[in-house]
Symmetry: C2
């Protein structure tokens, strides 16, 4: 049976990128390695939509999130945390570990923090040094209005720090234009790579705060990355250099397609998926859905986890279950990265078959037809 | 021109391991992923020669070194640092960043810290909580007598913490039998993998100290790795799962060859290389040479860096230059990992040709013949 990966990370990797990983390993301090790193940084600047250098860390995305905390916030300093799920919780746990005073703006799972809520928190906490939030909350499928958050934060002394690990290149996100001060991402989502690399860029305002904050770390000390990149381009520690070489390939794909077309493709996939899901009588879980993934509420009376197991066992489709308290209550379908409409079509077809077999009143083919029609209707729509 | 990598990390990766990296990416929380991680941990336990679990970190080796500092040493606590080069300096810089009080036992580049020096330091500093040192100091080619260090440290309250990033599986090293409390390694040396993963194991004595030390970190908090491995086997953060799958393959090779035979192979390669180098009238740089690499002192009057450039440009052989103050003064040839005698033979042949072309009084072929003879003589010698 063919296996098809629809988890919101890791995501499918283009074949030419995988083949790049099978080439012999080179020396990471050679002129060729520096040239490759330079090209990756330029490619990431394009994806981040920033003029700032983008630092390449060999770590999970969480490592770059930690860098975005330890370099920015001294113990006892106040931060505002806009959290809508598990990845907002990840910020909270890292901030706690570093002794930040956290003002939480928190919404129930499935909802998004609103700009009004953030405005109120900023007004009440003028001494906050930073606002931490999440572009795409993959645990619930919610996308935040980062453009609006940026409008609010840019005129305050606070920094806007965004976890874009799973949203970047799947949702519109413009670091410089939107006033994001620190943007974090990772290789294994819409950047079409295996896990292992994390990326991070810092605004001039962000660097001012870093320079005023005592260093409490070594591997995630961003000054070291800034110096190595400026002197090299290089990394301060031996990087996962075969992953960097492969990321260059994947970034070339994004450049050829064009970042606005990439956003538009994800938007189309998401809109058509939502229409299909609703045509099947299912309910979306996210009030303000991200275009990176679609999250479906499991209908009452159905064992959500059992449905996903059948999807995988009978048809090879790997969707993601809910995490922690949401386990068995939601289904998560990623359309991030190397995914096209026919991939998603198959995932919907498989879901229909499993639901029907489970005795749900589903008209097999109706979701698929809806997806097809919706996608076709949008294909001639103007680009973003 | 064929390119051949002889840098002391990264090292050549077996073809079957590279091909593993080109397979489609899977979900990192699946039962299959857990099974693979479990096998990798068992393989690493064999290589570490330990009964303790080995934790898999997605980072450079430096990340695991940081974990071995931040989890073990509270600010102001005293540690003894046995340093013989640049990688001992790496320990020093991390220890400094975490506020340790450092008692340095330091020797000039090319020499090894002796057990007598360590014994003296332990006698003078009975309040030291740990001894940090390096198995193989790749910056100078020196190997430390870790077995003797272990004898000295095991009866004190201090922990023995060893950077085995480049020595492990290239030199005899027995974590449990030698009394090593924390052993750190990385994927890209004798473990025959690209960079991107770091490994770390902790003794029961080490865990006692960790539990008494305040947590100051998140990504490198070893308690998280211990819990995830015990509950899973799993990792606390999204790991570089394609690298883990490939490491499984490389570990299988080590298992089939047998770790004592692997050590013996490196010893043979090192001894034959040393004999060849000396037959060419060249001098070894390391007084107590490691079997992981051979470091040669550049003869007076010769531009060492220019020789290495010619080796690479004319013959495709990539040796490593000295770093920092040793640049141009030494040549470093790795025989770590996926390297056999015919690989090293070629590297020596190329050096002879370049030296002769540079006007050195070298009998071309003499080093190669010596290598061949020495290696053959040892082939029938009993294994370790």
């Amino acid at each position: 049976m063919k296996k098809r990966l629809f988890t919101p990370g890791p995501t499918p990797v283009p074949e030419e990128v995988l083949l790049e990983l099978a080439l012999p390993v080179g020396y990471h301090r050679s002129p060729e390695a520096k040239e490759i790193l330079g090209e990756v940084v330029r490619g990431l600047q394009y994806v981040f939509q920033t003029q700032q250098p983008v630092y390449v860390l060999t770590s999970s995305g969480t490592g770059a999130m930690e860098a975005a905390v330890t370099n920015l916030v001294a113990p006892g300093e106040k931060v505002i945390l806009c959290t809508a799920g598990r990845w907002g919780e990840r910020w909270r746990n890292i901030l706690k570990a570093y002794g930040a005073e956290i003002v939480a703006v928190e919404v129930p799972y499935g909802e998004a923090v609103t700009p009004e809520q953030l405005a109120q928190a900023l007004a009440q906490h003028r001494d906050a040094v930073a606002v931490y939030t999440t572009l795409c909350e993959t645990s619930t499928g919610v996308g935040h209005d980062i453009a609006a958050f940026g409008q609010l934060v840019r005129d305050t002394p606070a920094l806007l720090v965004v976890d874009g690990i799973s949203g970047l290149a799947a949702m519109e996100c413009r670091m410089d234009a939107w006033g994001i001060d620190v943007l974090v991402s990772g290789s294994q989502k819409a950047l079409m790579m295996p896990p292992g690399l994390a990326y991070l860029a810092v605004s001039a305002k962000g660097w001012q705060k870093i320079e005023a904050t005592p260093v409490r770390n070594f591997y995630f000390d961003l000054r070291r990355y800034r110096k190595a990149l400026a002197d090299g381009p290089d990394t301060p520690f031996t990087p996962a250099n075969t992953l960097i070489r492969a990321q260059k390939r994947a970034l070339e794909r994004l450049r050829v397609e064009g970042i606005e077309q990439v956003w538009r493709r994800h938007e189309r996939l998401a809109q058509a998926t939502r229409a299909a899901v609703q045509a099947l009588g299912l309910e979306l879980f996210a009030r303000r859905p991200s275009t990176a993934l679609t999250v479906i509420r499991v209908p009452p009376g159905l064992d959500g986890s059992a449905v996903l197991k059948r999807l995988e066992k009978e048809y090879g489709y790997k969707w993601a279950d809910g995490q922690d308290t949401l386990k068995g209550k939601i289904w998560r379908l990623s359309h991030m990265g190397y995914v096209d409409p026919f991939d998603v079509l198959g995932a919907i077809a498989a879901l229909e078959l499993v639901l029907a077999a489970a005795g749900m009143p589903v008209a097999v083919g109706h979701g698929v037809a809806t997806f097809q029609r919706e996608y076709a209707a949008m294909t001639t729509a103007p680009a973003l």
